[in-house]
Symmetry: C2
């Protein structure tokens, strides 16, 4: 099992995942209240979505008590990674460089944030292993 069959959340599902990531394991009621702060959404709609996400393996749930408690099945970073890969393939021809340039270039970014990115770049320099080629495009591992 690699990243092959990692679930690909839809937009609504992501909305819910963000609530779970931010607040931790939550009931349908809580998630729905959070979503309702941003837009109109019925309780059973949120319920159904969570049930489907559960079937898909996107969330796990504790149904030991009557009101079930849902939590993300994947780490935030993992899911975000999948989504970036998706966008990278779909719109940037696989070039992470172009994506980052676009993300930074067309946007206001504070100096503090720029510095944080610089730190990240520096730490990546340290990890550079010159032995290996740079296979940005072939996660073919079987």
């Amino acid at each position: 099992m690699g990243k092959n069959n990692v679930p690909r959340p839809t937009e609504s599902e992501l909305e819910i995942l963000q609530v779970l990531w931010q607040h931790g394991p939550s009931t349908v009621r809580f998630v729905n209240d959070e979503l309702s702060k941003r837009r109109d959404v019925g309780y059973t709609t949120t319920l159904k979505l969570l049930q489907l996400m559960h079937e898909k393996g996107i969330v796990a749930r504790d149904d030991s008590s009557r009101t079930h408690v849902y939590r993300p099945a994947l780490r935030e970073q993992e899911t975000q990674g999948v989504l970036i890969d998706r966008l990278l393939e779909a719109a940037f021809g696989g070039s992470a460089l172009k994506l980052v340039q676009q993300a930074l270039g067309n946007r206001k970014t504070s100096r503090a944030e720029l510095d944080q990115i610089r730190d990240l770049l520096d730490s990546m320099d340290d990890q550079q292993d010159p032995d290996q080629p740079s296979p940005t495009a072939t996660p073919d591992t079987k």
Copy 2:
């Protein structure tokens, strides 16, 4: 008219847009041949997609001659920007920093690319003083 009603291409539509961005204005036949290099797709499927994209305003077409010629209605960068905004909102709570960290962190990136990003960061430092708003980033109200 701001970025409000900029079209939001689907995955298939992006596949086609990439062909158009890369090769310039093209006929259905050409686009379909390109897509066929990667996967199985019927001619009329590509045709229909292009027709729908035309209706949506995602592509423009020259139908002065019998075989129509399609071209992107938006610049590559513009569309990519919209898509990043979308992902940013949907999965990263709006934090471009987190997105970039994720894009770079979970991925092998060559030193050359890292250097290019550093250059970008440096040039952004220069622009830090927003007397002159960046020409790319503010298509405000007309």
